[in-house]
């Protein structure tokens, strides 16, 4: 089975190690993983800003690059949500692309959803020396949760990691205030929302907050550090599962 890994533009630039953790998880699960070299961005920033033209162009590019794989796996709920649930809206005027996308959509998965529900993995990769151990609290990123139904999958997988204990925070499913360009345009509102999230993370007493989306990750980490918390780690679920962090 060939899996196409869409790394996402934020992981590509900001946190490449998460891409390698995802790669390792998929290969350990026995898949042949291909990372198409021409991939760039799914187009979500344009789609959310109302720039349909740019979003559609990038959506078409994505379909061309990924439709020949058995599965497409994405270590991000919001890119996954854009592709799986919104691309069809962008191809309303193009029957051919819409049909191709409909065929592709059912094979597109968020990483933990794929590992839990398709690969049904028991074995996680061997942990690297010094890999994270301690208590973690899971933040449900909005699109993964509400567009793709990612909720039990990451938790079930985290329970398999030796040395990692899951402890729930209050309101784990409430938005962290990132919202893409919202965090730039309305920085003060965004930071008031993320403060609430940080408070709940602290309230959980966890050593690390674990999540599945880079936007939330940069937002939460950025606010924790700015407010003087250098202790709480902010980790992508792939890093913890792969034993890399």
């Amino acid at each position: 089975m060939r899996v196409g890994l869409f790394v996402t533009c934020l992981i590509d630039m900001m946190r490449p190690e998460i891409g390698f953790s995802a790669l390792k998880l998929l290969e350990t699960a026995g898949y042949e993983v291909v990372v198409p070299e021409s991939q760039t961005c799914c187009g979500q920033p344009a789609y959310s800003a109302g720039n349909r033209k740019a979003a559609r162009d990038l959506a078409e590019k994505f379909v061309n690059e990924f439709e020949h794989f058995d599965y497409v796996v994405i270590p991000s709920g919001s890119c996954g949500g854009t592709i799986k649930t919104h691309y069809r809206d962008l191809f309303l005027d193009d029957l051919d692309l819409r049909t191709r996308m409909e065929r592709l959509a059912s094979r597109v998965y968020e990483l933990t959803d794929f590992l839990h529900n398709v690969a049904k993995i028991d074995q996680l990769p061997l942990r690297e020396p010094g890999a994270f151990s301690g208590s973690v609290t899971y933040h449900d990123s909005c699109s993964g949760l509400r567009e793709l139904g990612v909720q039990v999958q990451p938790r079930a997988l985290l329970e398999k990691v030796p040395g990692v204990r899951l402890t729930e925070m209050k309101d784990s499913r409430t938005c962290c205030g990132f919202g893409g360009s919202f965090s730039l345009k309305y920085g003060d509102i965004s930071s008031a929302i993320v403060d609430e999230k940080c408070m709940h993370i602290h309230g959980s007493g966890a050593d690390a907050v674990v999540l599945g989306d880079l936007g939330c990750m940069l937002n939460i980490e950025g606010r924790l550090r700015r407010t003087g918390d250098d202790r709480t780690r902010v980790l992508h679920v792939a890093q913890v599962l792969a034993g890399d962090a």
Binding site: V7, C9, D12, M13, M14, R15, P16, G19, F20, V35, E37, S38, Q39, T40, C41, G43, P45, A46, Y47, S48, A49, G50, N51, R52, A54, D57, L58, K61, C142, S143, R146, E147, D171, R173, T174, C175, G177, F178, G179, G180, F182, S183, L184, K185, Y186, G187, D188, I189, S190, S191, A192, I193, V194, E196, L218, E221, G222, R223, R225, R226
Partner: protein
Amino acid sequence: MQVQSMHFKQRAGQKLADQRLQQNLKKLSTKFVSGRASAITELDDFEGTRDAAKERRMRAIENLDVWLDTFEKEATRRGATVLYAESAEDASRLVVEIAKKHDVKKAIKSKSMVSEEMALNQALEAAGIQAIETDLGEYILQINGNEAPSHIIAPVVHKDKEEISDLFARVHKRPRLTDISAMTREAREILRPQFLSADMGITGGNFVIAETGSVAIVTNEGNEGMCTLLPPKVHVVVTGIEKVLPTLEDLATVMRLLPRSATGQSISNYFSLLTGPRADDELDGPEHMYFVLVDGGRSNLVGTEFQEMLRCIRCGACMNHCPVYQKIGGHSYGWVYPGPMGSVLTPSYAGVENALDLPQASTLCGECHVVCPVKIPLPDLLRKLREKQYEGKMRPSVEYVGFAVWAFFAKRPMLYRLATRIGVRVMTWMGGSKKSISKLPFAGGWTDNREMPAPTGKTFRELYKQRR
């Protein structure tokens, strides 16, 4: 009511800095969010009921003219007068005319957001007719210099008990009370003579029912009964044209959802279904009953991609659950309707260009869609409004330039690879030994409040190529 949505950013900033308001807004999650969560478990098939309500509301909206026609016939047959108003101002004029016709000096009102659209109280005052709000929340706002409501079902959610204690003591000129039931009793003592001496009762209408020509009104204080059944000889219902439901069965379906979604109640304390004026063999009810059905921009939505917004049943769940509303409150939004539903309605009714911030000021987290009892895809509608802005060249020019540059590279993998390599190296250098950027040009909105975690020197694709 004048649209003030262009001041959104400035107002939101003030609200964020208002510590007292921040404290008061916490009521939303402790009271409404948890209340709804437990109330919906009472229904065996909550999802099925939502689907049914959505279908029944859409049946009404898709044939709005037919059902309004039926409603008018049935209401008229039962002795009521049905009037239509194209604009909110027209609606106010009609109510003033009705009042003058019946020589009304004093009107008592139960809660109505449509009357806020109409700025009805001001119109009545201008015509020399005293208008008195009788919903406790609306009464508080009226005696506080005609302040605007900040929530569609909890108009004074932004205030705390102490503020209201002070207000009552000052306006009522009585000793300051702090016990809520004592304060409520005081308001009742003040309002009772008003109820008894009014000539006209004005209410909103949660729904109007086509098959019977009735109006359904939900309250928790029973004031709608006092406004319609007690002395007033005239009852005027003001509501939007989209509030029509074909049958009483439809009403039963939506009523299973409305109080539960709104306040977490299985049923509101009071529920009135009023049909026609008092008949000869009846003991109570007004001598005259009028319906003023307001368009006010609603019919422009019929048949468009925003049509789904018309099935809204005004429960307020979307704002109660909105992370943005929870932080800035309702006044920031600048018109009658706040939160996600208001961010769709305000630009739809008043023009996209008059409320540029509202569709943008959302994280699109999707919780409003999840909790909406009639499954309105609010995030999709907000995104469609963003498309209108973008295509209508209403965004700042820097956004167009930025997207043009970004899309140029994103569509060309070779150039994109080069650009991201350079970008990552620059940002890594900016992060220094701290591996964190405290000030980013063109991204002050981010770095004024947060660090930007720095990248680590190379892109994934560079490293991937090296490792393979």
